[in-house]
């Protein structure tokens, strides 16, 4: 049997290198481009047809999705600050969702199953929250390491704990998305190869499970995109409203 992790491997399609760096185009890059094109295309389709007061089917779906994200941003970041961060967060949501859903098409590549990609997202968000925090509060931002109402004796203990919990946030953000997508697709692969290698008498059983897990994976594609964006909102909101 094939290695269940085999389909996560990336193979360069076009070999390119820039100043000693390998920037070859592989399946993952193509999947990302497709995701971008799908999101851009869907929205452009609505804009091209004219944004109407009485929305058509596609327009109302996209409006609902946008409002859903806007409510989320307003809830965690606050109404005054929300318009500044909304474009970034909504882009993040649609891009991750598109990547996850494209991965559900058999034979395509799930780019969110690469720790490099999710790690880049999370790292960027982490640096961004630090930047926002320091530019908004100056050095007072460091007080985020000391929770309010802590007795003075506990402060030397609390600072390293808070420091670790701060650093753990982007890592858990990256690992969660990566691990969920990788695990789901590995399970799908194992179940499907079981049903392929068994006779039809037994093989229908893992095949049934493949179908069920496929449905679950579809839900997870949405849920993970949702969690990633909601946590981004929470983290940005935390540094804006210190405690």
């Amino acid at each position: 049997m094939e290695n269940p992790l085999h389909h996560f491997e990336l193979h360069p399609l076009v070999h390119l290198s820039l100043m000693g760096f390998d920037i070859s185009i592989n399946e993952g890059v193509v999947a990302m481009w497709v995701a971008l094109a799908v999101v851009f295309g869907l929205f452009m389709l609505v804009v091209k047809n004219g944004v109407r007061l009485i929305p058509g089917k596609l327009q109302s779906v996209l409006e609902m999705a946008l409002e859903f994200v806007r409510d989320m941003v307003e809830e965690f970041i606050g109404k005054e600050e929300a318009p500044k961060y909304f474009p970034f967060i909504v882009t993040l949501f649609f891009f991750i969702l598109a990547c996850n859903l494209i991965g559900m098409i058999p034979g395509s590549y799930t780019i969110t199953s690469q720790l490099v990609v999710t790690g880049t997202f999370a790292g960027f968000i982490f640096v961004m929250t630090l930047f926002i925090g320091f530019s908004k509060h100056g050095l007072k931002f460091l007080s985020i390491l000391v929770p309010p109402g802590v007795p003075k004796v506990m402060i030397p203990v609390m600072i390293p704990i808070e420091f670790i919990s701060m650093l753990a946030r982007p890592i858990s953000l990256a690992v969660r998305l990566f691990a969920n997508m990788t695990a789901g697709h590995t399970i799908l692969f194992v179940l499907f190869s079981l049903s392929m290698s068994a006779s039809l008498m037994v093989g229908w059983m893992p095949f049934g499970f493949t179908v069920i897990i496929n449905g679950l994976e579809l839900a997870i594609a949405f849920i993970q995109a949702y969690i990633f964006t909601i946590l981004t909102c929470v983290y940005i909101g935390d540094v804006i409203h210190l405690h």
Partner: protein
């Protein structure tokens, strides 16, 4: 609609809590290991690191859970208010 909403929220909570603790503990342990490696304080760095990491993980989970409880309580209150209003309307 509300059933799928509950499902989505439940899945969200489950996925959020699970990684939070693991990652913080591993990160604390890793930092402790790094301290050991560079300062030659084996094994105390990793011991203290895992404890602090575990505490940080607990803190993260506790905060997330607290935020969620507040959210649920708020939703419950809203629901109660709207249902009592409905009853008023009927009466």
């Amino acid at each position: 609609m509300s059933e799928s909403n509950n499902f989505r929220q439940g899945m969200g909570i489950a996925f959020r809590m699970g990684t939070e603790m693991t990652v913080a503990t591993l990160l604390g342990g890793g930092m402790g290991y790094g301290v050991d490696y560079f300062f030659g304080t084996k094994p105390w760095g990793i011991v203290v690191g895992v404890v602090f990491g575990g505490a940080a993980g607990m803190l993260n989970v506790y905060r997330a859970a607290q935020a969620m409880t507040e959210e649920i309580e708020k939703a419950d209150r809203d629901q109660n208010n709207s249902s009592s209003k409905d009853q008023d309307g009927k009466n």
